[in-house]
Amino acid sequence: MADLVLFTFIINGWWFFALPILVIGSWFFRNYFELIIFGIIYDALFCMNNGKSIWDYVGTVSSVSIYFIIYILKKFSRFSM
């Protein structure tokens, strides 16, 4: 259900609604790959220049970075689930 809501947000370009939910999800779930998948979908839908520029990967790069930042934070935190 949450994934459907997130998909709706992403296809409408509402990344600012999707991002907090994805961040919370990746903190509470162990392998929350939806974060990266939605980043890739966002770039595939809205990127320009056929992926020849780094700016065409804003969604992918951001989602992978957030995924690993949260992964590292969870590793050093005692309060993760």
């Binding site: 709706t8 296809i11 409408n12 370009g13 509402w14 990344w15 600012f16 392998n31 790959f33 990266i36 890739i40 979908i41 595939a44 839908l45 809205f46 990127c47 320009m48 220049n49 056929n50 992926g51 020849k52 700016w55 065409d56 990967y57 804003v58 992918t60 992978v64 995924y67 992964y71 590793k75 935190s77 005692r78 309060f79 993760s80 689930m81």
Partner: protein, 271 residues
Amino acid sequence: MIFLETNNRRENRFNRIYIVAIIFIIIILVLIQLLFPHILSSIFITIAKPFWRIEFAVSSGSMKSQRQLLLENETLKIRLQEKDIKSYLIQSIEQENQSLKQFFAKNRVYSNSESTSTDAMEIVPILMNPPFAPYDELIIDGGKDLGFTAEMVVYAYKGIPIGKIKEVLRNTSKVVLYSSPGIIHDVIIGREGIRATATGNGGGQYSLELPRSIVVKEGDLVTVPSYDGDTIGIVSKVINDEAQPFETIIFAPPVNIFDLRWVLIDKKDQE
């Protein structure tokens, strides 16, 4: 719930495998994107398109009741009649303007944009115009099926260019707006025809700098000679700082591009 972190070797091994798998998948996706640039885009746009069409239909009023639609239809008919009357007046002013231009031989500065006749244009609905997306773009419901090609000029209305087609897929196209950050235009401002270089700021806004001695007022038209002298904006703000030798001019298209539901594509006009 609070758990103590355990130092489990097996768990660490699994985590490492997951990370390697993620990196591997991302590399494959990037390679696919580089080698076959349209594949991912086509797949996800095909999935998203029915949702965009439903959204467009709902926002265009297809869910309204019959009574509401009839009422709206009548109101629009009345408005159309009012506009017809106004258009006759405008036509007469245009004729007068044309004859004055011929008289003063200033056709080069004030082009009448004959190449942007609405008849030669394709009217296409906008599927997506994300207001806060990092990419200043529109996705329109027409692509190779309607004969669109890259670099075709996109108009909000007749004589008001807002962007050009950047990428054409089977039945959708991506339009990059002229106001995209960093795009530079040689423009002519105001009645005196002051030449300057404007830069897109994103979100339908442009800016340029001029010496303070040049008088530019809010409401002055900004035209681009390379777009047949079409108007790309109207001066919305003049920022004049007494301490600075230059004033900053902010201008925007005469229409709000994020409220647009349709655009015109000039099939003949390519940059």
